[in-house]
């Protein structure tokens, strides 16, 4: 199976975010693989172990994103592609168009990505790419199984097109839902899908010799309109500071009574 994982390098979730001159300060910051993408990668590695095939990781980002790709190779991915962010606008639509074009060349049976990236938090790019590629998707996967589509379809509605299908248990607001979609498809990973492995020492050594291809947006031959930004940032700000409030005093019973009173009379919540 040809497994492709979309991966983004993000700030460590424990990092403080400092804003300098309208941009996030990167000096000395620690970068990690977006945690949700790490679940996607781990799942791809497990699927390869079960069904054979190759795992290719693709990241669109600046040069430092190559570190995240090396980490992914050290975890066990076979190949990596760095789609250089230079020449791409800061807009999910344009990035998705570029990613979709790069993904087509990789001919995936299954495309995996995180539910969202913890930096921009939009969860938009992978799904926009799926739309551009004409692929079905199942979002927020907690379990993923690959099976014969014909077998499953036979006991359902007899769609029976043959080929493979993904059976995905997913986390939604209306419950735990199990869906089946035909491959090729996109599946996005939710926390709880698996426990990602750490890169092993031999893995790290091997990763140095694995292929990491660099691809520029220009090489993709996209139409100008596709690379044009649809949205743009006007400003970036730190959140309004929150002043520390008041500590309540007295016995536990007095504190509880005082809190209820304050929430009613001062905060006007009840």
């Amino acid at each position: 199976m040809n497994l492709v994982v979309l991966l983004k390098q993000t700030f460590d979730t424990e990092e403080k975010i400092e804003i300098e001159n309208g941009a996030v300060a990167e000096d000395g910051a620690k970068f990690i693989i977006n945690p949700y993408d790490e679940y996607a990668l781990e799942e791809a590695l497990r699927l390869r172990e079960a069904h054979g095939g190759t795992v290719t990781v693709l990241s669109c980002g600046p040069e430092r994103a190559a570190e995240a790709l090396r980490t992914a190779l050290a975890m066990g991915a076979d190949e990596a592609v760095l789609l250089e962010e230079d020449g791409l606008p800061d807009d999910g639509g344009a990035v998705a168009a570029a990613i979709a074009t790069a993904v087509v060349r990789l001919r995936p049976d299954l495309l995996l990505a995180g539910l969202f990236a913890v930096d921009t938090g939009a969860g938009s790019v992978a799904l926009q790419a799926a739309e551009a590629l004409g692929l079905p998707h199942a979002a927020a996967a907690l379990k993923l199984e690959i099976r014969d589509a014909s077998a499953a379809a036979a006991d359902a509605d007899g769609g029976g097109s043959g080929g493979l299908a993904a059976v995905v248990q997913r986390d939604t607001e209306w419950g735990l839902e199990t869906v089946e979609i035909p491959l090729p498809a996109l599946v996005t990973a939710q926390q709880g899908l698996n426990e990602p492995r750490y890169p092993s020492l031999p893995g790290i050594m091997k990763a140095k010799r694995k292929p990491l291809q660099r691809l520029s947006a220009a090489e993709l031959g996209l139409a100008e309109a596709e690379l044009a930004p649809r949205t743009g940032r006007i400003a970036l700000q730190a959140p309004p500071a929150r002043a520390a409030g008041r500590r309540l005093a007295g016995t536990p019973a007095e504190q509880a009574a005082e809190l209820a009173r304050l929430l009613q009379s001062e905060a006007k919540l009840f």
Partner: protein, 338 residues
């Protein structure tokens, strides 16, 4: 808004169990702001055999300022197949020719918005927490980055079809239209696309449980809760308050509760009116997910816990002692309020 252009804004009015979700009215409010005085707002209600309740939802949308409510009722929409729902929104967009489409940034909305945006060659601004108009009439969208450690303002470039998903609980819901105007409710013809998604099974969450993203009040537990058995007092308090239960990453990682409850930079970002943090130290990754709540209460044994730095009211003490006492206090208070 400029005087010459007549903008139409389309709202995807999400329902759950046949009832309009509150976020649908918040999206409608944003749509009315974007459409401006001279513009108009359309809404699309999509479902499969929703029956009588769709009529109620449509009437409410119409009363709150939707000039046209497009009702699509098709068996393909009986369950959530994202390709079918995205197609339903596109069908309504074809009928309404909107310059912007507004959805809730919910489990369904976050799947639909990118697909609709990409299909229309438009742009998507996701997880919007505030919308404002500039003097020139342009719309500015505020959205959190790093789960609230920073905020950005974005805009759409001219001529681009705008797709906006708005975070539940942040924008004011649409008010009743003046002079009791009533919009036009119409059935919309719909040819569903070939279905990719076959829903095999849905295991409903405990009925009556309030969704974290839409909860007005959240009682949240951390490592200080010490075990899965430590959560029932928090659940009892949440129930008294009509709120939801959340958790820190520490509590989820320790296996005290399901990851579905996790609040933080990984997990859910919430903005309730009241957030009660019990036994949560306040790691930066947790603060990112909840520090925009209107009122924060912290209960923690450790007087130096960072959570006190963002709490409006802090109680240094044993949560197992305090939480049941609070539950009694609120029971009395809410009973007195009738």
């Amino acid at each position: 808004m400029s005087d010459v252009k007549h903008e139409t804004v389309l709202v995807y009015a999400e329902c759950q169990d046949g009832r309009l979700r509150r976020v649908a009215l918040e999206a409608l409010g944003a749509a009315r702001l974007l459409a401006g005085e001279g513009g108009s707002v359309h809404a699309v209600l999509a479902g499969g055999g929703a029956g009588a309740s769709a009529g109620e939802a449509a009437a409410e949308l119409a009363a709150r300022g939707a000039e046209v409510v497009h009702v699509i009722d098709d068996p393909a929409l009986a369950q959530f197949a994202p390709e079918a729902y995205a197609a339903a929104i596109r069908a309504a967009a074809e009928a309404a020719s909107p310059s912007a489409i507004v959805l809730g940034h919910t489990a369904a909305g976050r799947e639909l918005a990118p697909r609709v945006a990409a299909a229309l060659g438009g742009g998507h601004i996701a997880d919007v927490t505030a919308v404002s108009l500039t003097d020139g009439g342009g719309a500015v969208f505020t959205r959190p980055l790093y789960a609230g450690k920073a905020f950005e303002q974005r805009r759409f470039l001219p001529g681009v079809t705008q797709v906006i998903s708005v975070r539940p609980n942040n924008l004011p819901p649409a008010e009743l239209a003046e002079d009791g105007r009533r919009g036009d409710i119409r059935a919309l013809a719909f040819a569903p696309p070939p279905l990719w998604t076959a829903v095999r099974d849905v295991v409903r969450r405990t009925s009556g449980r309030i969704d974290l993203a839409e909860a007005d009040i959240i009682v949240s537990g951390g490592r200080g809760v010490r075990s899965a058995e430590g959560f029932p007092p928090l659940e009892a308090l949440a129930q008294t308050l009509g709120g939801a239960v959340g958790a820190s990453r520490g509590a989820c990682d320790a296996g005290y509760c399901d990851y579905a409850l996790q609040i933080g930079q990984t997990g859910k970002t919430v903005t309730p009116k009241l957030y009660i943090a019990c036994g949560i130290s306040g790691a930066i990754q947790h603060l990112a997910g909840m520090s925009q709540s209107r009122v924060i209460v912290a209960i923690n044994k450790d007087p130096d816990a960072p959570i006190f730095g963002v709490a409006d009211y802090g109680i240094v003490g044993d949560l197992f002692e305090i939480v049941p006492l609070l539950n009694d206090q609120f029971k009395d208070l809410l009973q007195a309020n009738g």
